[in-house]
Structure formats: C-alpha cells, structure tokens
Symmetry: C2
Subunit: 322 residues, 2 copies
C-alpha cells in the first residue's frame, strides 16, 4: 500500500474523469453523472481537498456538430470554433456535475459546496504541434465537403485517413493554467472544484499584445492538463478514473497482465518499451509519471470509474509511486 | 449626487450587462466585449468589489437554434433544452468576459483576477408562472412545425402571436442563488466575479428528493436575478448598463423626459402610472426599487453601457435612491 496518507493533514487530490465515462447526449449524461456522484463522494474523505477535471470529447464534438450542421441551414447560427465550443462544454458539464455532486453533498449533511471554474490554459505559440496539426476531430467528410469548409475557413486543415476527410487540429502541450488563482482560492475554502474541463480552453498570448490571451483551434490532451493541474495545485494524488480496471501490459493479448502496485522506474521502462496504447493509456501513464517525478511522496492512480472508492483508497487500479 | 461612497471602505457593486449589449455571433461578441472591457474597468475603483452579471437572450437563442436545426438532420445531435443551453451560454460568455477583462487588468498592472461562476437559481415549484407560461422564445414556426415539436416534446407549449407559432416558457421569480457561496468566496478574495449569466439556470427542488435540484425549461428575468444577486451579496450599488442613456417618462413620445436623480417614491409612482415599457424598462425599474427598498443607503443606477464610467460614478444615467 503506497497511498500518501498524512494523518490529520488533508490530502489534496486531482480526480480526472474520462469524457466517454460521462456518457453523451443530454439525459444520458445527466443520468450517468447522477449515477457516479455517490461513488465519487464515497471516494473522498471529509477533509480531502478535491479538484475534479473531466474530458469533453463526445460533448465538444456534439456542440461542434450542432453548429456545423445548423450554420449552412440557418443564417442566424454562426460557425463556432473550438475554443467557444470548449467553453460551452465546460459550462454544460460543470452544471450537471455541480447539480449531481451538490445533491449528494446535501444528503451527507455537510456544508461543502461545488464550483465550476471556466478554465483557459496557456500554450506556447511556438509549440511544434501548432505547425503540424494531427489530432483528428469531427465527422468524416467527403472530399467536396472538406474543400467547401476549407474555402470558407482558410485555417481549417483536413487529412484523408482512408475512411474520408477529417479536420485535424494541433494538440499543444499545456503550460500554464490561466485561472489557477480561482481554483486555488476555492480549494483553500473547502470547495470541491471542477476545472480544466476538456483539457482547458487553449489560448496563446496575443503576439501584438502580450497581456491578452486569444483562443486557438486546438485540443489539449486532457491527461496532460490534469497533470499540470495537479502540479499547480501542489496535489498529493492524481487519480485517473477510466473505463478499465488497471493499466495492463500486453493489453488485449493472451499474456495481458494487470499492473497493481508499480514504481516509477518500472512503469517508465514499460512505457519506453511501447507497452501502452499510443492515444489511450500512454498519455495517462506519461502524465502520471511526470506528476510523481515532479515532487516526492506523490501517488498517481489509474483505475475504473465504477470502482472509484476502491481506486482512490488504493485497493483497486494501478498505483504508481517511487 | 447620491452615490454611496464610504471613504476607505470598499463599495460592493453588481453590474448588469444587457444580453443585446454584448453583441451576438462569435466574432461580434468577442469584439464587443473587448471594446467594453476598458470602459467597465475604468468604471470601478481598485478597491471596489465587483460582480458582473449579463443577459444571454441572443446567445441562448443561437445555441437553441443550432441544436434545434441540427437535431432532425443529424442523429448524433440531441435536442438541448433550456437549462443546458443556458449553462452553455454562461460558459461561452464567461470565457469571453474573463479573457477580455483579464487582458485589461493585466494592462493596469494589478493582481486582480476574473472568475465565472456557473450559476443555478432556485425558483418555487408553485410559482404561478410555471402553470401559465407566457415568455416567448425561439423562432416563429408554422402550425405544422409547432405540432411536430409538440408531438416530440409533450412539455412544449406554443402560442400563435399573429406572426406564427412561438414556444412559450415560464418566467418564474428567482428565489435563491444556489452558488452564492462560490460568488461570495471569490468576491471576498478580490476577484471580479461573473455570475448569474442569463438570469441563472432555473432549477426547482426535486419533489421526490428535496436535496436535489432539477433544471426546468424556464427563463428567469435577468433584472430580477441581478437584484437577488445584489441582495445576496449585500451590495451597495446595482448598476444596469443598457442601450439607453436614461430611464425616461413618455418614452418615444413628444414629451419624453430623461430622469436623472430620482427618489424611490418618485419613480415608484411613475412605475405604478405605467410610464415604463412592460418588458424593457419596467423590470429594471422594479428590480432597482426592490434593491433600494431592501436595505437603506443603497443606490441603483440605470444608464448606457457606452458611458459606463460616468454611469457608475453617478454623472450619467438615472440614479435611484431614498
């Protein structure tokens, strides 16, 4: 058992929820969030300081599709770009989380509150990914549809992945949480804080006016945003709640083996050996490693949302530590 | 001059921005918000405690239209109801305000921060308006379109206003700001807080589970929400920034007369005499009156967003006080 418990001292925990884990659609999302709220609160102690972050893949996709489909049909509907769609998804998911967690907190009779922080995350204007966007978003289009969109939006880039044309955007490394003061302030005052939804709204400093941020059409890997959040908030634990029970070696193969308690050097070697899915588990493991490496006595855990209480208490999932 | 200035003591001000004043569309909104940000910050002193609230009429309409037009065309897009559309608009407008005000604050070299609070507002389940919805929202439809929507959404109600069929929703009185602790906490720590966007997301207590709130398809009059916000936060001033310079008697007529400094009984009498536009100025005047009546030594001001510094300093607009 490696959980960093300091008796009498509050643990500070960042919990990252997968966007898929939240369910998509309107009722499905609210029902799913209501379903997981008791389990999430069961996972944390009364004096734990908790920040919840979440993915927004299905949700931001849905908002983009709605505006993308409606704009050509209805002149009053503009095309919405990624930063605004991300802000909408933060508001929408935050509202559901506030409502569901608030109801559970009320049942428990305490006086804790939940607040959502609309969060921008600064990235570097010279991040190499900005010049070479590869993250596929949105639906597959025909060549003609892609050409029409390119004509209308000169900044849009598309690739043909064999199944059709998809828009690609940059996936820059998150550097600074613009709203970290808001998050820390609420955290210090016993709020459960929802922040950095969907990896945050990516912004760069305006080249003409360094004090001003401008949104860019990019997607920040939410696992890296969660790690930055953990670092900025000086968290003790970073917990990824996903749809699998453990990080596995040989995933999906005959010799698949779930990892339980594992040290930083051990899992580093497995990552370097290419054991983990490039777009699924590898980013989580990489984020977990960085989190543990940046300060001693930290633990990162990757486990199943359905077992949240056991995962956060360290009796389920993969626990990474020195 | 009637402004409540208490030398050495911070003034607590609620500033309410009209949704129309923010501009609609994506670029227009961001440009407009960037345009008004310097003026808004010029209006307030360094030690003023400031909460900004805003309308969302054009924005929530736009989100609803996007989902309404896209849902029948694309099976992956659900129909979004008002609470979720409202939450999206709070996230989207809050993001633009945070970004633009943050840039201005940075220029001024201080260390204040801006935070958006996604806000639910509780209404009474027996509010008479819930049984008798009259607030028109969304586009005019043909009889056939309205019938098709009613068939799909049994809760939807429509009226024929002569120009076609429009959906009507309830406009209940706001009773309690669910997130008031979040707002007060940030305010006490020198944040400029953006809250209760669009009058807040209307919720009632779940009849089966009193600790749980559920969103309802209704619209809270944003002026009344601003007044509740002022009351809950114990504000000294409530400032409505709109597209007119003053409250006027005989508005639009030959004997139109702008009101400058006016007492509560004076403007109460004018309101009772039906001097103010039912859906435009009357709600603002009513909210201003309630605000002044609820605690002594308060001032409410109604003036033009374009003159924000002069309005907040009491040298432009209509100033209501005892």
């Amino acid at each position: 058992m490696s959980i960093t418990t300091r008796p009498g001292q509050p643990r500070r925990i960042v919990i990252s929820l997968g966007g898929l884990a939240l369910g998509d659609g309107l009722d499905r999302q609210l029902n799913r969030i209501r379903e997981i709220a008791p389990s999430l609160l069961k996972a944390i102690d009364a004096n734990d300081e908790v920040i919840i972050t979440h993915g927004n893949g299905p949700q931001v996709n849905m908002v983009q599709r709605a505006f993308g489909v409606a704009a050509p049909e209805d002149l009053t509907v503009p095309v919405m770009d990624l930063p605004e769609c991300g802000a909408m998804s933060q508001g929408y998911i935050g509202y559901h989380l506030q409502q569901a967690l608030g109801a559970e907190l009320h049942k428990r009779g305490g006086c804790r509150h939940v607040a959502t922080v609309i969060t921008q995350i600064e990235v570097e204007p010279d991040d190499p990914s900005l010049a070479n966007p590869t993250k596929q978003i949105g639906p597959h289009l025909t060549k003609e549809q892609a050409e029409a969109q390119s004509a209308q939006h000169p900044g849009f880039r598309f690739i043909d992945d064999g199944r059709g044309f998809r828009r690609v955007v940059a996936c820059p490394r998150p550097r600074r949480i613009v709203e970290s003061e808001s998050i820390l302030n609420l955290l210090d005052n016993d709020f459960i804080v929802i922040a950095c939804g969907g990896g945050g709204i990516p912004v760069i400093r305006d080249p003409d006016d360094k004090g001003c941020y401008v949104g860019i059409p990019a997607v920040i890997e939410k696992d890296y945003a969660a790690e930055l959040l953990g670092d900025d908030c000086n968290a003790d634990e970073l917990v990824f709640l996903t749809d699998v029970d453990n990080v596995c070696t040989g995933f999906g193969g005959e010799d698949e083996r779930p990892l339980g308690d594992v040290t930083v050097p051990e899992i580093h070697a497995l990552l370097d050996a290419g054991e983990f899915g490039k777009d699924t588990m590898a980013p989580k493991v990489r984020a977990a490693l960085r989190f543990c490496e940046n300060r001693p006595a930290r633990t990162a855990i990757i486990g199943s949302l359905d077992n949240a209480p056991q995962v956060v208490r360290g009796i389920s999932g993969t626990r990474i530590h020195y």
